[in-house]
Symmetry: C2
Subunit: 342 residues, 2 copies
């Protein structure tokens, strides 16, 4: 049995689900993979919990369930002066970075990841900001300390994207990737297509259902899609592009007339993130595209995501689905941990 000591940074929806999965799957993971997963610290916004001999998941989940915050954990909970101090002083194998994504600064994820590498930890990323803003620096810091990173949870989560490219398609030249990486915009476009409701009504509905944020610009403006595309391309192609290298167009200008015209041609409008090889390097763009019915991306509806890989040896492979909720995102990080240490 191999023990894996885990630090979780961020205890929002996804962090809570991650702790829940750790509890539910404790036995299965030890039986199936010979791994004993042990949570030794949780870093929240104002409080942290750490216990060198392992945090009680029952007590932790209880804090989450009743909105008590981490302070409610009792003995073992401390007000945070510096989250970096915790990462400096704790012995652990891996940091699960699940703080809120900020694609302007990359913080606090960026500082957390760097400190984790310096403290000898691997990193499993759920937050996208640091990877979007500082990909090259993160890779350099990681290599310097001979550590590893996994980012499934930051690139469409339960939909396998990076794993597909790195593992299932190993040895192939992937010359084009197309994907629907954002569930919110796909939900809005699907509602517009299937029910003929206008953009603003579909957006409002998505907000009321908790699918879209109160400030939906990151989603409908295409920036979330672009962020995921960026991380995917940098991971698979061994590049260090930034958001500036992507042409980004959102769905705000799609109206009923566009939808109607697409339908008449038996096509579907989807917000597609795309990367392909050209003579001048890799071209990346995010834009609403009219897809033919033969493109399987057109079959991903509502909150579903999808990705299509075009390869030299194995032809075209499409992956569609995977939950689009905090549990599925947490499960992506959980999978990364298993694959790192099994």
């Amino acid at each position: 049995m191999k023990r894996v000591r885990i630090v979780l940074a961020g205890y929002g929806n996804v962090g809570y689900r991650f702790a829940e999965i750790m509890k539910d799957k404790y036995k299965a993971v030890s039986q199936n993979y010979g791994l004993e997963l042990q949570l030794v610290a949780v870093i929240g916004r104002r409080y942290a919990v750490y216990e060198d001999r392992g945090i009680s998941l029952d007590k932790l989940l209880d804090c989450g369930k009743h909105g008590k915050g981490l302070a409610g954990y009792g003995e073992g909970a401390y007000p945070i002066e510096s989250s970096l101090d915790i990462l400096k002083n704790i012995r652990a194998h891996v940091l699960v970075e699940a703080t809120p994504t900020n694609i302007e600064t990359g913080e606090p994820g960026y500082s957390h990841m760097r400190q984790a590498f310096r403290s000898g930890m691997d990193v499993v990323a759920l937050s996208k900001g640091a990877l979007v803003c500082h990909y090259r620096e993160i890779m350099e810091e990681m290599q310097k300390h001979h550590r590893r990173i996994k980012v499934s949870g930051a690139t469409a989560a339960a939909l396998p994207t990076i794993d597909m490219g790195q593992y299932n398609l190993a040895g192939n030249d992937i010359y084009r990737i197309q994907g629907i990486f954002n569930g919110t915009t796909n939900y809005i476009l699907t509602r517009m297509h299937k029910e003929g409701i206008p953009y603003h009504a579909a957006l409002k509905e998505a907000q009321e259902k908790g699918i879209a944020e109160a400030d939906p610009r990151l989603d409908v403006g295409g920036f979330d899609t672009a962020s995921k595309l960026l991380i995917l391309v940098n991971s698979l192609m061994n590049t260090a592009y930034t958001l500036k290298d992507i042409e980004i167009q959102g769905i705000e200008k799609i109206d009923g007339k566009d939808i109607m015209e697409a339908r008449q041609k038996d096509r579907t409008i989807k917000l597609v993130g795309e990367a392909f090889r050209t003579e001048d390097g890799i071209k990346m763009q995010v834009r609403p595209m009219e897809l033919e019915n033969s493109n399987l991306l057109s079959k991903a509806d509502y909150k579903d995501k999808a990705v299509v890989f075009y390869t030299d040896l194995m032809g075209t492979i499409s992956v569609i689905g995977g939950g689009s909720d905090p549990k599925a995102a947490a499960a992506a990080a959980f999978k990364d941990i298993i694959n790192l240490y099994k």
Copy 2:
């Protein structure tokens, strides 16, 4: 740089493509994965080629291209007395088993695999027979010698099935798998659906195009689908079922009336291999199913394959496509080698 010494058993279409990929990807694999892949022996039906310092891929491919057979390799080619003697005496890391599949006896793959394990090699399987007939014995022999096996090429090849379950969905409980695992029957059913041609005409066309065998019973009778389902389930669920545990029904009895009725209901008939958990263990069946349009398996047409995983944490994930030709099958074995040694 890590050198990987490879023995290839079977030099038919797939074996030839495997050697071709080894040549084309030599540089890319050393650059991207730090692996130097070296072919040290090829075992054909009557001749074998072995060269301790590495076979010339150019000379080998030349034998294949001009139908000269391995004898045409010249110095380094020997008439075979016993293929097992070669596996006994050669130093190599991995056997790529690409001899013809025989699901009655599992030979010659079974003897090859056992001897490979005993000689300290890992196994990458393209042939299905041994895995179908002797799964438990193969696993036991492998464990006894602390070796590993990868079988992507024996379970729908370029369509990632086992990798998906073992890697991309690690930590999930997969409670149902549905798949279209056989390109030949899918081609026939697609032609019947889309063009309304009768079963026997579609089968004849598939035979003329080289998609179906002269004796098509393994495909149209559902046995090829069942074999792949069996290997997939045994690999993912850690079981040791045999073909007898699968209810198998082929497509021979599907006629124009069935197709018409399905179309009227906006459904599609596909030959589906399915496994799901019940209170009495895992139930497995292969049969023609009328699929609703919402089931993405219905979108796999002609020679395409597809698989749907139903999971507890990550929802439903569908994978569709992947080449259905000898090159794609060989690429699946090539991928397995990279993932074993990278």
